[in-house]
Amino acid sequence: MDITVQDRIRQEITGTPVVLFMKGTPVFPQCGFSAAVVQILSHMGVKFKGIDVLSDPSVRQGVKEFSNWPTVPQLYVKGEFVGGCDIIREMFETGELKQLLEEKGVSVRA
């Protein structure tokens, strides 16, 4: 495993409260699953940093190894892996996502 890529990912997820590894950018998502998570976060008024894995193959592979998760998107809150598209969607619907973000001190639109 490439130590520098792993270190870079760790820096990203600890340096910003909410980080989404995704295909494309928040403005131009390149995949429906990434777009769905962007839409949920935007709807909730959550500020996040999108990291486009398509622009960096080493991050695309590295983040899968980092989280032991085979697909993108991947959402991190305060350095902790929360889930991919299915989990985020489920947590949004049950209200757990809002609860988790608030517990972690991330501001969410009421």
């Binding site: 899968k64 085979p70 299915d86 989990i87």
Partner: protein, 78 residues
């Protein structure tokens, strides 16, 4: 690059013995599936851990041959 639903079920059941697996071909194209997996092995695990267990059972196919598998996991009712 597609996978047969029966193959997905077989892999999940091999990895999680006794699991109940329901597969739906979302678009009829053999490439976009939804799976609902019910297993006692999920008890006490977080959602992330439960999904990781299913991905483990699929042995690297998820994200490769298997492009889209919407996953839902739960513990059986006693």
């Amino acid at each position: 690059m597609a996978m047969e639903p029966a193959e997905i079920v077989r892999l999940i059941k091999d990895g999680l013995p006794g699991a109940e697996v329901r597969i739906e071909d979302l678009r009829g194209d053999g490439d976009h599936y939804a799976a609902h997996v019910v297993s006692g092995a999920f008890r006490g695990k977080s959602r992330v851990q439960q999904h990781q267990m299913v991905y483990q059972a699929l042995r690297g196919r998820m994200g490769n041959e298997l492009h889209a598998l919407a996953l839902q996991t739960s513990v059986p009712d006693d």
